[in-house]
Symmetry: C2
Subunit: 342 residues, 2 copies
């Protein structure tokens, strides 16, 4: 061990990724795009191959006391597919690394794979390999997804130009508020095991947390209608963090309007019930797996009536000015969320 000790928390997740990236060299011509986008881009001739990996750990990313194993399996695939969606690509294969402790029965493993298979079927992805091992502690699921995109249709985080319109699919903050509901019910249950969880009212929110969907429906539609996107990222860590990634990668600043951020009414009401500002939930909550992308102003007509795409602001030339115009007209800086886990 080195004599010096620097805490990782001080650097943060994105600092650590930058550090790893800066010490990496590329030796193969087929490696078109490495660390720093939703997926790596590999040259396979007529198309681009897309590769992304995500790891889910018990006690960090999920709590088995309220996460059914089928949902966990489904989610592990969906969050990876979402990274391929964010490149405007289609997923085709996955490989899964699974570490399970001996407190898991074969029936439990079957349930997990039921969810994995259901997601594979839904997203038309083939499970083609993996590694299964035991774990000394919790459950670990590592999924790597492989997808493809046309060479001229692959959308990076870095392609936005000034004055592009910033678009968001679906609604935001629900997964985070759903997690608050689950945590509260868990606490109630631990205090009084006779109490039945009261989740029906919050079904949408809890579903967003436990069984998120990758927005492949939007991607298929955009590809079919041949709508050109200039940049894209999926919203896994919260809107604020992803806006800053998109801006930084494209060398631009971001301006969004609070009243344009899509928030479902149940998310709004429940957020208030938890004394959480609904906008904060949308900006920093994470795990929504919606898509954040930019289009040229001239392409606005193509999407303006889409019921599930929302226009929240635009890019501009000053990369040091990333702001949200609040509902009362004040200028609020957009701030990155730190790493929640460390």
């Amino acid at each position: 061990m080195a004599a010096e000790r620097t805490e990782i928390a001080g650097l943060g997740e994105f600092g650590l990724i930058d550090r790893i990236k800066s010490s990496t060299t590329i030796q193969n011509l087929t490696s078109l795009k490495g660390i720093g986008d939703d997926a790596a881009v590999i040259d396979i001739g007529t198309e681009n191959l897309l590769v992304s990996t995500d790891m889910l750990l018990e006690g960090i990313h999920f709590d088995l006391s309220y996460m059914p194993l089928q949902h966990l399996g489904y989610k592990a695939v969906a969050v990876n597919v979402s990274d391929i969606a964010a490149m405007n690509g289609k997923p085709e294969q996955i490989v899964i690394g699974l570490a399970i402790s001996n407190r898991f029965s074969l029936e439990a493993v079957d349930m997990l794979y039921e969810g994995i298979q259901a997601a594979c079927k839904n997203y038309k992805v083939d499970l083609v390999g993996g590694d299964t091992t035991s774990s000394a502690s919790g459950l670990v699921i590592s999924v790597t997804v492989i997808g493809r995109a046309a060479k001229d249709k692959t959308v990076l985080r870095s392609g936005a130009k000034a004055n592009d319109i910033i678009c968001v699919t679906g609604d935001l903050g629900a997964a985070y508020i759903g997690l608050q509901v689950l945590e509260r019910e868990k606490e109630v249950f631990q205090t009084n095991p006779e109490m039945q969880p009261d989740l029906e009212k919050y079904e949408y929110l809890v579903g967003r947390q436990l069984k998120p969907e990758a927005r492949m429906d939007v991607i298929h539609e955009l590809i079919e209608k041949n709508i050109p996107l200039t940049s894209m990222i999926d919203i896994s860590d919260g809107l604020a963090s992803e806006l800053l990634h998109l801006g930084k990668s494209s060398g631009l600043g971001i301006k969004i309007f609070e009243d344009k951020i899509p928030i479902d009414s149940l998310t709004y009401d429940t957020s208030v019930e938890f004394k959480i500002d609904p906008t904060t939930a949308a900006l920093n909550g994470g795990e929504d797996y919606e898509l954040l992308f930019t289009i040229k102003p001239s392409d606005f007509e193509l999407l303006k009536n889409h019921p599930d795409i929302h226009f929240i602001g635009h890019t501009h030339n000053n990369p040091n000015q990333n702001v949200m115009i609040s509902k009362i007209g004040t200028v609020v800086p957009i701030q990155a969320q730190g790493w929640k886990h460390f």
Copy 2:
């Protein structure tokens, strides 16, 4: 949770993999070969893409009390590259999922990546992406490697024909005996921290355990010399287990000769010192990452003088007869090792 409970240990690792495989359906024409070989095979037009994943967990696959972090990083890449070698392919990209607890400093993460980068450089592989997260318990490293092989040169486990010659590279059992040495020294150190570890004599064995190399040197040579292999697998779980995989996949039986199994003299002597039969170490020890492959009898001339390739037996038509002829001439059935971790 289901009412019934079946222990995974009863099914074993290979039983579990078979179970997962049987519930898997393939939907994409590009998925040429799924679960059941060293790597998945994906059609990318003029070539095959190869994908393999391996997960290493602290407390299961490595012990940080004697595994330096640089070596761990190197090994995590090497064992994955070995799977691409076993398809007669060349690795090109890796993505890494890393889960670290807050007891790790930034300096420790740097050391781990030093090893990863060293392996990337050695095997000409690019680190193109990953996922970094925290861990509530131990260190987890999940590596997925992507490689390529010519369509007519991709070697599966299933291609052997009866009377093919069974070949093994390098020597076997050293990594397992190296582990015994490390475990013994750890125990000595725990009893008396003043004692310095006595590893110099065992350097080769300890090196085989801590810093294994994928046999890309052999693969590059075989590809260059255009030597046709009929089937191949890498030796990660021990020779016995891999022989049975090869035989089963090819629908053949296996016959090997104990006196032909390559065992280094230091492995032999140290094995005896530990009261472990050297042949058992070679058959069931695992982690040697040598290559096991078959060639047609007519191609024997091409390899017979190779200093690092050993001919240990041949395949035959009866898949139910998998035997080793011992040094004293007795017929010993080859038996699969169960899953060590459960």
